[in-house]
């Protein structure tokens, strides 16, 4: 990677500039919007103080796109939205046009290209997800495959707006959870302490770094076959996998000891209730490629119960806060178990410090 032949200097420009990427009608009304409506699933109408209106058509993508796919989207944009398009933070693509008459043809074309139009309002939108076996160096499963499997079963829920409120899903291929909290999240759970690959370790590991990485001080230096190595105090270890990030010889992944856990009630918006963290509601689901049916089954149960029981505007976590965890487990047919009792740093704050009780 020598730069001898370079004839120009790198521009450390940071993010790409955005002005030229905004539709002229957006530029004109920038920061001066008055309200929006959702005329139909997948379509937004935003009206500016000037009276201008802009229509958005939103469609799902696999996120793991290709140049071919993107070029097709560019063609749609050139044809219907003056050559402008954007992506949402949930991997949906959006086309903004001031021409209402472009909306229906654009929907037709996107659908015919295989991009489902939807993802607006009180729907299940696309899944925010991660790298998995395709690219990451610490994944216990795939992410894109799980997402594809889930969204196949939630296709209608993406295209309709029949949920009590928005439903955000995420999927992550290790416990780190790059995919983030969500109303319902599918996250790999490491189920046993890492096995130390002593041969590998001795060649690659900065030992003190790995020791320091452990949040519960479960890693101790040791000597194996005359070489300095590490050992894990399995009683202390919480299977977080942090050490693997510091030293890949701390093998946390295993085909049988990497299971799936399902989490619910993550909420990041400040609307109504404060943002809330997710709670675990199922674990020990098998890592079962290529379709992970056990995972999609649980997601389905939760969504069915939520759809039936949630009141308008209640997010999944807010619905549960109202009906209580006992009823949540009853209505989804999932099972609360003692592993779900918090044992970590602030566990006490999750104890029921009251006589409030549900039978």
């Amino acid at each position: 990677m020598s730069s001898q032949e370079r004839t120009w200097k790198t521009k450390e420009s940071g993010p790409h500039t955005y002005e030229e990427a905004l539709h002229p009608v957006v530029r004109k009304n920038y920061g001066k919007w008055k309200y929006h409506e959702i005329p139909k699933p997948g379509v937004l109408k935003h009206v500016a103080e000037s009276g201008d209106a802009i229509w958005t058509v939103r469609a799902g993508t696999p996120r793991q796109d290709t140049v071919d796919m993107l070029r097709r989207l560019c063609e749609v944009a050139d044809r219907y939205s003056d050559g402008f398009l954007r992506f949402t933070v949930r991997n949906n693509v959006e086309f903004l046009t001031p021409n209402q008459e472009n909306v229906e043809p654009m929907i037709q074309e996107l659908e015919s290209l295989g991009f489902p139009v939807g993802g607006t309002g009180m729907c299940v939108s696309s899944v925010s997800h991660t790298q998995g076996w395709l690219h990451c160096d610490i994944p216990a499963t795939d992410a894109s495959g799980v997402v594809k499997s889930m969204m196949d079963t939630l296709y209608r829920e993406f295209k309709d707006m029949q949920m009590p409120n928005k439903v955000r899903l995420s999927t992550s291929c290790c416990a780190i959870n790059c995919g983030g909290q969500a109303d319902i999240a599918v996250v790999v759970k490491h189920t046993r302490p890492p096995r130390v690959n002593h041969d590998h370790l001795s060649t690659i590991c900065e030992l003190p770094k790995a020791v320091a990485r452990c949040p519960v001080a479960a890693i101790r230096p040791t000597v194996v076959n005359g070489k300095r190595s590490l050992m894990v105090d399995e009683a202390k270890c919480i299977c977080c996998g942090a050490c693997f990030g510091a030293c890949p010889a701390m093998e946390i992944n295993h085909p049988e000891h990497s299971k799936f856990a399902i989490w619910v009630g993550g909420k990041n918006s400040n609307a109504r209730s404060k943002p809330s963290t997710m709670s675990i509601v199922a674990h020990n689901l098998p890592n079962n490629p290529p379709r992970w049916p056990e995972v999609t089954d649980v997601i389905g149960r939760i969504l069915t119960a939520y759809k039936a029981g949630g009141r308008p505007w209640e997010r999944v976590g807010e619905w549960i806060a109202r009906i209580g965890w006992k009823r949540f487990f009853e209505e989804t047919g999932l099972t609360f178990d003692d592993n779900m009792i918090d044992s970590y740093r602030h566990a006490r704050t999750t104890f029921n410090q009251s006589a409030h009780v549900r039978f």
Partner: protein, 417 residues
């Protein structure tokens, strides 16, 4: 690496690079992956296969083979390494196959993280140019977008990285973050379309990431630092949960009420809907029903956005707008998820001076963290360990009751008297 299972390989041609699986196509059979081609949702596998068949890039075949192998053995096979471009210390996520003997075509599969425009806006010529450069040097796989907000150009060999970067850079693109430095930011669409935007988050995003461009490219802090910019407390970027520095629009004065639109709303939907869907959802009971109309008690409003969301035509954020800064958001690793905490309840964000004041404050915050933090400790973890009060003092930020949900319930402090 127990559990790997070679039977997964049967059926695929084992030679190195013949370009055939015996079925007359470029790709080897991937029966597991193929099952992800059915169903209505767009299939990434179909996309990859289409790309591979068209471009005949061996890397794509190798990667699909290795992925098929992962699906069979339930294990991943990539390991990291270090590849950079001249003058930079981050931005390329390096991937070498751990089983390149099996899949030599997948030997290298690096990702280039590219910072898109704030708000993830494109015009087709930008995007086409990007695709063209990428197809020329890399695999043609692009993830739009990574969770941290990058364009992820996935699949390039080490020796093509520099030229690919040079071309991209000349076209106006720069690398994003990785490692213990400033990361790429995310913005919601904000003033680009949304009536709720309380500040120009696209502009602040651009300026802030330009300000820290050196720390994006040459990471040397304790750990990563992420900005996210949401135009209002709906927080459409999930900033509170996944950014160390969550900049969230808000306002100080009363919600703007368009009385006619309120009346119209009630007329259309009825008083019951007003009570059940708006009033009863207000977290602080700031709204009351008075003679069939709604009255908002401004001092009780916590700017949650709900009533504005429910009645977008009738209600808008106040006029005195700005930002709140929340700090310390991160996900699960080590300490469990930590939502960002409100640190600066309000700051104006109207002009370049405001942006400068803001960035000076962030500089001080980072200085404090650089001093007080430990290796691989996110700033939220440092604040928790050292104490919120100590952090405020150290970073020169005023304390405010809004920073906490309640005064302490224990007497365990040493006061200075």
């Amino acid at each position: 690496m127990d559990g790997a299972n070679d039977s997964a390989m049967k059926g695929a041609c084992q030679c190195n690079g013949c370009g055939s699986d015996g079925n007359g196509t470029f790709l080897n059979p991937t029966p597991m992956l193929d099952q992800l081609e059915s169903g209505p949702w767009p299939s990434f596998i179909s996309g990859f296969k289409e790309l591979a068949e068209r471009t005949k890039k061996p890397m794509l075949r190798g990667v699909l083979d290795q992925l098929e192998y992962s699906y069979n053995t339930k294990m991943g096979y990539w390991k990291g390494g270090l590849v950079t471009v001249d003058g930079y210390g981050a931005g390329i996520i390096t991937r070498y196959s751990m089983i390149k003997d099996k899949f030599p075509e997948a030997a290298e599969f690096h990702t280039m993280r590219i910072q898109p425009a704030p708000g993830l806006h494109y015009n087709t010529s930008m995007l086409r140019e990007l695709c063209d450069i990428w197809e020329k040097h890399g695999s043609g796989i692009i993830a739009l977008h990574g969770q941290t907000g990058d364009i992820m150009l996935q699949g390039i060999e080490q020796d093509k990285v520099q030229e690919c970067f040079d071309e991209l850079n000349q076209a106006g693109w720069d690398l994003g973050g990785a490692g213990a430095g400033m990361r790429t930011g995310v913005s919601c669409i904000g003033p680009g379309r949304c009536e709720n935007a309380c500040y120009d988050n696209l502009k602040l995003h651009l300026k802030a990431l330009q300000h820290y461009v050196g720390q994006v490219h040459r990471p040397e802090w304790n750990y990563k630092l992420k900005f996210k910019f949401s135009g209002c407390p709906n927080d459409c970027t999930n900033a509170i949960m996944r950014s160390d520095l969550a900049v969230i629009g808000t306002w100080r004065d009363a919600i703007q009420v368009d009385r006619d639109e309120v009346r119209a709303w009630i007329e259309e939907r009825g008083v019951d809907a007003l009570v059940n869907n708006v009033i009863n959802h207000c977290p602080t009971k700031a709204i009351s029903l008075k003679d069939g109309d709604m009255v908002i008690e401004t001092r009780d409003c916590v700017r949650c956005m709900h009533c504005l969301n429910a009645m977008p035509k009738a209600l808008s954020p106040g006029k005195e707008r700005g930002i709140s800064l929340l700090m310390g958001g991160k996900n699960t690793l080590k300490v469990g998820v930590n939502m960002g905490s409100l640190i600066v309840p309000f700051m104006k964000m109207e002009d370049d001076d405001d942006i400068e004041t803001f960035l000076e404050m962030i500089d001080e915050i980072i200085d404090w963290w650089d001093d007080a933090g430990l290796d691989h400790e996110r700033i939220g973890e440092t604040i928790e360990r050292v104490g919120l009060k100590q952090f405020l003092e150290g970073a020169g930020i005023e304390y405010d009751i809004n920073q906490v949900t309640r005064p302490r319930d224990n007497p365990y402090f040493k006061a200075k008297y």
